[in-house]
């Protein structure tokens, strides 16, 4: 909106001439996206229309039967529902957990701030696999949590924590939390503190200030963070495999199964495209609904 204003207010021809030169600046990024994202995706889409053969990998074909078969299979229906459910649940929980932290980070004035931001980012420095391995060390029967609980006699038998959906939820949230916190914090930072004082001055309690001022104004950050996190959750692989165990099925591991174990590339590609379509439609519908609610412009 800032740009729109500038353009509306500024008169003269130099405004028009700027973008043509500017367009070159995005060229490398565009080429990269085109080459490394769009290209392989088109290739995948083509593969998804082929037919599987155990001996030749695939037979050239042009049919949507892989999509039809996956959509009709109760197994994949369940995988899709689990994936969606996990993604929505984890996004919601992450948002609830992240917001207070994001508020704190966004409002932090001291010289520790950059240190706090780095600390927030720290989990991202550790790879998914390593991090999940850490969670495994906590969750297994002789892991830290059970060891502590047994030691202090809270439980007499080790709890089963590994390979449960709960473990996956914890694991995913730990992975995506920094994205949500930092996205929201950067928006909170841009909300003048005066607005909170003004709200209090006008009689709003802390809770009313949150609902009426902070939340609506951080809506762009909440939306961006939620979309980012939702997409990450939908595509969870390592966490689902390592913490959820072999019985817990989300889309990304199911796709991996088809590609690598089943050697069934056409089916794997079809599943991948279904996941993509699902993620995109939820993201788009969600953003539109959100924009309407909070007038994000």
């Amino acid at each position: 909106m800032t740009f729109a204003d500038t353009h509306r207010d500024t008169k003269g021809a130099n405004v028009k001439s700027a973008p043509s030169g500017m367009a070159l600046l995005v060229l490398p990024a565009c080429l990269l996206v085109l080459g490394l994202l769009i290209g392989p995706m088109l290739l995948m889409f083509r593969i998804s229309l082929n037919r599987f053969s155990p001996t030749q990998l695939m037979i050239e074909a042009f049919s949507f039967e892989n999509y039809a078969r996956a959509a009709a299979d109760p197994y994949y229906q369940e995988v899709i529902l689990t994936t969606l459910g996990m993604a929505l649940l984890c996004t919601a929980l992450t948002l609830i957990i992240a917001f207070p932290a994001a508020y704190w980070v966004g409002r932090l004035q001291s010289s520790w701030k950059s240190l706090v931001v780095i600390a927030t980012l720290f989990p991202l420095v550790v790879g998914n696999v390593v991090r999940s391995a850490g969670w495994m060390a906590l969750f297994t029967r002789d892991g830290l949590i059970n060891a502590v609980l047994l030691k202090v006699h809270v439980i007499s038998e080790p709890l089963t924590l590994m390979y449960t959906p709960k473990a996956v939820v914890f694991g995913i949230i730990a992975v995506v939390l920094p994205y949500m916190i930092l996205t929201i914090a950067s928006v909170i930072e841009s909300i003048p503190r005066d607005l909170e004082d003004a709200a209090a001055n006008l009689g709003a309690s802390a809770l009313q200030t949150f609902w009426r001022v902070i939340l609506p104004l951080s809506a762009p950050g909440v939306a961006a963070g939620s979309i980012l996190v939702f997409v990450l959750c939908m595509n969870t692989y390592a966490t689902a495999v390592l913490l959820g165990g072999p019985r817990f099925k989300m889309m990304a591991p199911a796709i991996f199964d088809q590609f690598v174990r089943g050697n069934n590339w056409p089916m794997g590609a079809a599943l991948a495209f279904m996941l993509l379509a699902l993620t995109m439609s939820f993201t788009i519908v969600g953003s539109i609904a959100f924009a309407r609610r909070y007038r994000v412009r």
Partner: protein, 344 residues
Amino acid sequence: MISRRHLLSAGAGAATMLVPGVPIARAESSQVVVGTWGGDYGQLLSDLIDKPLLAPKGVEVLQDVANADPRKTKLLAERQSRRGSMDVACLSDTDHYVVATTNVFEAVDAAKIPRLDKVFPELRTDTAIPHIYSALVILYNENQVKTPPTSWADLWDPKWRGRVGLADILYSWNTLAAALANGGGVSNLDPAEQKLMELRSLDAKIYPSNEALAAGLKSEEVWLTAMWLARGFMWKKAGIPLSHVVPKEGAASIVFEASVPRNARNKDGGFAYLDAMLDAKAQIAFADKMGYVPTVSDAVLPEDLAKQVSLSEADRARLLKPDYKYQSERSQRTLDFWNKQFKG
């Protein structure tokens, strides 16, 4: 992270598939490119074969490291092209079979590979040398399981409810074990399906990887499993209280093989490499480090090592060679049943 890496490498495979014959620059024929697994196996190849056996002959070995599936795909994708990217392809016997059906590999014979004569006859194939092998056995916790099992069917004993753990990645072998427990065999996996559902109701634990299964065995969360004897050997060395038994129905074999693709640039080098892989000293070292059994008759293991990693004469007789054709044609059904019914 894992998924992305795999998808990327798979994508690269797809690209080469659509653009056959992309020339890959390579300088000299004194170089041999070996397509192999990384990790322990790749390191041992380098330490026991590349450096001591081939380097003195002036042969430089380059490892093309990847998991089996991308390499398999690469071989299939390159099969039309005149010059391939590997001179030696290491694959398990099952994978080798799938790729070999498309006529990708050179035939092996004693003229090119002098040491082929020493290979046990039952391990020979037309297009590959067997490098090392092992067998699928029952591993059990010797502290918890006082009466050693004798049959695959013993894993279904209700008293071991919840104590049987299986590795997810060995699904086809677990399926074979279930078939054997129910009167099936390498060429008849159908009886496995009923048995797997029984095991499911007996609360069998499934672990995503061999390492996770090892952790489960170590923590005594589970007491019994179907596993390669070689792995059992390494786990015992790591201090897990395990014993192994070859069930009366027989142990299924897995052979790690190596072949020379037809479109290899340096076939002579490739065959020289295959010959070196059959070196007795190197094979004994592999047995000592990884627990896999030599495939040549003149590689005699020290007695205590032999006891731990190799099969007795009687057990060798009951070694079950997979029915590759049947297995590959049934692969989708086996995987689907495992995922959708057994685990679902």
